[in-house]
């Protein structure tokens, strides 16, 4: 029966060899995997381009997304080529939509995203990196999350620091008030970072104006109608003591101006933020003293462009310096003197941007406290 014994021995060895072989095979797959699928295909020839954001009802996000559309049109595609992922203010939906799109596109994705809140940025970025997609973030991320920790796939992050510009508009306001009197602040949603920074800006400026009292600061939730009601109530409480109004953004300022109009109050100094087209008109008319334009159109376009050009291999993010990976967006002041020129340059004719000039209008590397 020796042939049987021999057969069994042979089979055992074969099986052992097979197991060794497979283990080695798996191992080498795993070893290859360590470099990541992103490395394996550094360039995606025709990635899906997507923008993930809150919704389009808000004029600010509408501008952002119109920039994204302008960018895909510059590629010679239809506007519809841009995939819209709308999170409606839900981080869970934001992440779920991204994961769904990653599966659908098999990772051939260039994603521009505001993750709705800062903690959601990490899971979104990790999902993209794992799938070999390329992602650029706007506004929200935690301070410990950095694009350079993820090789090429986390392309960039852009944000704005509103404290400095808000302080400057506050100074314009306080000067217009003659350096005395009472100022009220109508803020955004209290927990939103820009809302906090814009109020900080006012507080910083107030330190140099000891004769101006901050009568009250209330959230108006970025909402025109809420701002209208809060301002009316301020007028009841403080009446003539109010000699200036600091608004966290333009939509709030519209509500404030109408509350003043309802009372027949004219010439009250008001400053705002964001540089929406209608606010620029109001600055030109002198109804608003100053607003700050952050060029959301460019911000929306360039964020998509960075992700796209990294995906297609046009540039290699990991070879760029840190100030090209995390940077502040542009801020432009608009006052009555330059409102008309600004309107002609930026609003009546939306400039045709060079979407490969990634960092030209940006404003330096993001600093952390």
């Amino acid at each position: 029966m020796s042939f049987i014994k021999k057969f069994i021995e042979q089979e055992t060895i074969n099986r052992r060899n097979f197991l060794f072989a497979s283990a080695a095979g798996m191992g080498s797959f795993a070893a290859a995997g360590m470099f990541g699928p992103g490395m394996a295909r550094a360039a995606i020839t025709d990635p899906t381009v997507a923008w993930s954001y809150r919704n389009r009802t808000n004029p600010y996000w509408n501008e952002i997304v119109s920039g994204g559309e302008a960018f895909v049109e510059s590629l010679g595609k239809e506007k519809d080529f841009l995939t819209h992922l709308i999170n409606e203010g839900s981080s869970e939906k934001s992440l779920a939509d991204v994961k769904a799109l990653l599966s659908k596109t098999n990772g051939d994705l260039a994603l521009a995203i505001d993750t709705n809140d800062a903690p959601n940025a990490r899971p979104v970025v990790e999902a993209c990196v794992e799938a070999g997609a390329y992602v650029s973030t706007l506004w929200n991320k935690t301070d410990d999350l950095h694009p350079w920790d993820f090789g090429d796939n986390y392309v960039s992050h852009m944000s704005w620091s509103d404290e400095g510009p808000a302080e400057q508009t506050a100074r314009i306001l306080l000067d217009a008030m003659g350096g005395k009197g009472g100022v009220v602040h109508l803020g955004g949603i209290a927990s939103n970072n820009p809302a906090i920074e814009r109020l900080n800006g006012l507080n910083n400026a107030l330190k140099d104006y000891p004769d101006v009292e901050l009568l009250a600061a209330e959230p108006a939730d970025w909402d025109t109608q809420k701002a209208n009601q809060v301002m009316s109530a301020f007028l009841t409480r403080y009446g003539d003591e109010i000699t200036g109004v600091h608004c966290a953004n333009d939509t709030i300022a519209y509500g404030v101006l109408e509350a003043l109009r309802a009372e027949g109050i004219e010439g009250m100094p008001v400053v705002s933020y964001d540089g929406n087209p209608q606010a620029v008109d109001l600055v030109a008319k002198g109804d608003i003293l100053a607003t700050v334009f952050t060029n959301p159109h460019w911000g929306g376009g360039i964020t998509a462009s960075l992700a796209y050009h990294a995906a297609t291999g046009h540039f290699k993010p990991s070879e760029e310096p840190n100030e090209h990976r995390e940077f502040y967006g542009p801020t432009i002041f608009i006052t009555p003197e330059d409102a008309t020129r600004f309107k002609a340059d930026y609003i009546d004719n939306v400039p045709t941007y060079d979407w490969t000039d990634f960092w030209g209008p940006s404003n330096g590397q993001i600093m952390y406290n």
């Binding site: 009802t57 025109t224 009601q229 007028l235 009841t236 409480r237 109408e258 109009r261 309802a262």
Partner: protein, 321 residues
Amino acid sequence: MNSFLTRDILVKWAPLLVLLVLIVFFAAMEPRFFSVRNFARIGISSAPALMVAIGVTFIIIMGSIDLSMEGTVSVCAVLFAFAFLAMGGTLASIAWLALPLALLVGAVIGLINGLIHIRLKIPSFMASLAMGFVGTGFALLLTGGDRIRIEDEAFRALLTTRWFNFPIMVYVALLFTFIAWFIQSRTTLGRNFYAVGGGEELAHASGLNVNRVRVLGFMLAGIFYAVGALLAVGRIGIAETATGNNFMFVAITSVVVGGTALWGGIGGVWNTLIGVLIVNVINNGMVVIGLPGYVQDGVLGALVIIAVVLSTDRKSVSFVK
């Protein structure tokens, strides 16, 4: 018997009492609250909400619910603004036709709402909520996210021209409140709302075409939402997708705080008027007495619960769902 009557009367007048107590409270905390100018401000913030709340009152009396107001208000506001500007942009021209057009739009949305509810047999809660989203989406589609400014001085007179210290929009709101009261108490349709809300089977068995009453109710509500939309545009001079924001919470809260029961059959237009005033007095008063912003939402919620406890008769209800 005597004590029963007293309780009955108390329940009936409780919402008004709540309102008076709130006014006295805020006036004691901050005397400037109690001034004609401030009452005018409360009037301005109440006027659009009152119209929307009256619209939904009819539906709630029938024992249904309509949650489409935010979308409907946005669509009416935006279509009004487009039509108004396209036809000349001033009330002195043919553009005044945009006003009845807006009401018509409101009625049509209400009609669709009602038909979806009864023909497809979808609960009013779901049908109207969905229609509301459709409305918001449609308004967004129309505007592309932009805001439309209405600068016409004649139209803005709603806010800027005052008779006896109160702007015209407050009188317009009162006029429509009287119309609503007339419909509620002096027309067959109004009484049919109560019949449906009081007992739908009974109303049906008595030969009432309940479905017809329901559809008409939703159309009527849509017309009042449209009036609310016009006043909202008059107040801030802007028509946009966000014009309808927050109306759902304010309207439903006001109706309930005013003493109209969510299970139908009880309450009416005057209750809603008091309810809207309660909510707006609370909102205005909290800022006037200088309550910090982060406390306000919590206080509003708590006050609403207290107001509902005080102003609705829950003894006659065996269960709450």
